[in-house]
Symmetry: C2
Subunit: 515 residues, 2 copies
């Protein structure tokens, strides 16, 4: 067995079943090894950002890693932005990155680069294989890292000669490490603060604390203490909808977030850190929690959120029934021209039970998130690291992980362009994804940000750098060019009809909503 086969067998034995791939010559032995392992599914992406973003989406929904296959340092470079997002999400991801044969590196052939150096900024862990036998060990180690709670990005650099050399064998599977527990004192501190402090108090939730079971505990804590439940602005995976425990949402803009939190006398953080402004702005604060508030870190992203919340509920002797159960809601969509509100109303009405929403909707999609709070139960995934171009790949990965669930990609036009190639993978794999492109012809958020950072009277050249018209993008044509049937809609009535049609069928569709 060669090194590549031993590596792939090791990953498969640990439960890795999917390979998102964009290989080149130096990865041909890895391609062959994936080919031979019949239990491992290979999914081609036509750009590496699709591959890494899909691995993130898969990891969020499967709670175990897929493996990516990437072509040397430059191929990995193309995947970095979505690895950054995956890392911020706490997603489990394993990257296998081919590199030149060890003896070939010093010849400095055209594709030579510092692959480990490219990997390091966006990986939690990087390992260069030392031999064909070590490669399998590296695979076992990568799995252990990737699967450490809640998930990490582990990158293995695979020299071609280690892949093709015979004499290797799979590495033994290792038991996964249990999720680290929050300190007992943190639970006691949180209980004390929530019991004793007078006035408004909040339980601030992120990461795994937004899963359904964790939210039951959070709802019990709310019942016991009157604490409000607030979710971080950009969530990895938020299980919500009618019948689940409802959570408020921290606004995006720093000054709104600061004002939102200003009155709280105590805030307990679970699955995340105290929120900070997404960007810095002249004269505005970075840290958003009120200075005179009691802040308690119950559990970080890397500590077991479910256990911490259960422990806190117990310490508070909380009632069995959670508070804040979300009632079903229904909104009337204003007819005529599309806007954020009628899009949100239509999505909320039609969202299928157990749907997954990949939300990279930026300015135009804000209403959809809040209006879907009382829709049928669903999972909502967001852009965790701010590196745009995540939404469509994330939908690919979620659909691969959950073939029986409908995936809705709610996608802004500007950010969608970065990884538009994801549409082709949806078509090839016949993934059950309905993409809604919110086409407003603009990096609309940047027009707002331009003012917020203090730029006065921007000229036409500045504005042109934030504008996607001239020419306008026609996503319907782009989508059909990649094999995904598409339709353009201009009104609420048309959107509703198109969405009904798309949801009634399995397989990929794209609806281009003109704003």
């Amino acid at each position: 067995m060669n090194g590549a086969e031993a590596f792939i067998e090791t990953l498969y034995a640990h439960g890795v079943e999917v390979c998102f791939a964009n290989p080149g010559t130096s990865e041909m032995q890895l391609v062959a090894a994936v080919d031979r392992q019949h239990g491992m599914r290979a999914i081609l992406g036509l750009f590496e950002g699709v591959v890494t973003g899909a691995a993130d989406g898969y990891g969020r929904m499967a709670d175990k890693p897929a493996v990516t296959l990437l072509h040397l340092g430059p191929g990995l470079g193309n995947g970095l932005a979505n690895l950054h997002n995956a890392r911020r999400a706490g997603s489990p991801v394993i990257n296998m990155v081919g590199d030149h044969a060890t003896y070939h590196l010093h010849y400095n052939a055209p594709l030579t680069s510092d692959a480990a150096g490219v990997a390091r900024p966006m990986s939690d862990w990087v390992r260069v294989s030392n031999s064909e036998r070590d490669l399998a060990q590296a695979g076992a180690e990568a799995f252990a890292v990737a699967q450490s709670y809640p998930g990490k990005v582990a990158t293995v650099i695979v020299p071609a000669d280690h892949a093709w050399t015979e004499g290797s064998a799979p590495a033994a599977a290792r038991p996964a490490a249990p999720a680290p527990r929050a300190p007992a004192q943190a639970i006691l501190d949180a209980a004390a603060v929530l019991s004793e402090v007078e006035g408004p108090k909040a339980l601030f939730l992120g990461g795994r604390a937004l899963r359904e079971e964790a939210l039951v505990e959070a709802g019990r804590i709310a019942a016991a203490t009157g604490a409000r439940l607030i979710a971080e602005t950009f969530v990895t995976r938020h299980q919500r909808g009618a019948g689940r425990v409802a959570v408020e949402k921290l606004p995006y803009f720093g000054e709104m977030a600061e004002s939102y939190l200003a009155d709280f006398k105590a805030i307990v953080f679970c699955g995340t850190e105290p929120p900070v402004s997404f960007f810095a702005y002249p004269g505005k604060p970075s840290f958003l929690s009120p200075p005179d508030s009691r802040l308690v870190r119950l559990a970080s992203l890397r500590e077991d959120a479910q256990a911490a919340l259960a422990g806190l509920a117990k310490a508070l002797n909380a009632p069995a029934e959670p508070a804040l159960i979300q009632a079903p809601t229904r909104f009337e969509a204003d007819p005529g021209k599309l806007n954020s509100a009628n899009i949100g109303a239509i999505l909320s009405e039609l969202l299928p039970e157990n749907a997954i929403v990949s939300d990279e909707s930026a300015t135009s999609g804000g209403a959809a998130f809040s209006m879907c709070a009382g829709a049928a139960k669903h999972d909502w995934l967001q852009l965790t690291g701010g590196a745009i171009g995540q939404g469509l790949p994330l939908a690919v990965g979620a659909a691969v992980a959950c073939p029986d669930r409908k995936v809705i990609a709610l996608q802004a036009d500007g950010s969608g362009m970065y990884t538009n190639q994801a549409l082709w993978t949806m078509a090839r794999e016949q993934l059950d994804v309905t993409t809604i492109i919110l086409n407003n012809g603009s990096y609309a958020i940047l027009n707002i940000e331009l003012m917020r950072v203090g730029v006065q009277n921007p000229g036409p050249k500045a504005l042109s750098m934030l504008d996607l018209r001239n020419p306008g993008l026609n996503w319907t044509q782009i989508s059909e060019g990649m094999g995904v049937p598409a339709v353009r809609v201009e009104t609420a009535e048309e959107l509703r009809a198109a969405l009904v049609e798309a949801l009634a069928h399995k397989g990929p569709r794209l609806i281009e909503a003109m704003l």
Copy 2:
């Protein structure tokens, strides 16, 4: 004047006239500064690989840098692959990469990353600004680095607070360093080898040695010594065509290249290093020159090729008239179904005088390069670093640098997908680029490489990872979706008609050639 303005003014005073941009919130002050400097053109790319690839194309044709504008570490990550290619080309490029305000970094907001760490593997030089005043100095230093012969990739990380803080001023322009000269001894050694060695000998040319004037000197050396002239496999910018000095081409595949060079008793290298195999293959050599040959390094990529060749011609007392002047050639295109040969014949016939060809044609375009040797004079640009997705962005940059010259992008379908967003920039800027997509529905080169690395009997899963059908890409729709008029052709007659039509008009067109 704030730091951003001082930085942009400094670059402009050094001669930087074009900014290829994909900005975000942390770069808004840089956007405003570019806006205010009316001499600097701003060109938006909808993906960072378009931005950096365009800067490469611009640098190759303008022989001075454009500046890129990129959004923190992840945005830079998306641009790395084409920076790798630019660096391998010896192109002058300046990157300005926004980052969080210095005081905001430690809050670890979602977009926080090690931007300098991302930059380092694909930059020749990286500098993080230290203050609003230091930022302008960093700009002057970056220009000096980028413009060092023949060109380098210089990256400046710009913290947002340095950009927005007032009290800066432009840095004084510095004289550019002259191109380093090859050692006199190298010229003597080369002259001795070419004069004394019996049997076949070659002058092996790369980098700036493939410019028209350098080739005149090479042709004189050929006239004096009988040396054959051979170009490296992937050239930065090769000035060729009828009436210019003709140069042979080293084949891509290692064993063919090795065999091509096997009989030479002496090889003199200028503007490049002795060639090595692009990838390693089991049991095949990396170093391709014959072991018993006399190898002389006349000038490296970083030493003045023109001066070295002129010096060598003088040392050889070479005649004034170069040998190997290329005669005009004309090929008949076989009618009917398209193939590499009739595409090459049609392109060779129709290529306009002074055209620029951006060649990322991979397997389907090989004939075009050789058949255009005797076409009208033109510049041929290639993928220097092997990181695919360069061709369309390179065409964008070349067209911006040379608005009065026709640019032909000869583009394979698989590699074109990585940076298809370049089409939109062609449409917005109405660049005079005719793109010919060679649609063979495959990563065809990888099907060959799979065998070459020793994979026997690949299964359907392996082959599916190298295949672009199911669904087939429709580039005509993709192109029109981004605003570039497009036509699909199936035969030589149709291609010829479409190319005549495209070349007769200014502005972007796309021809999808079905192979």
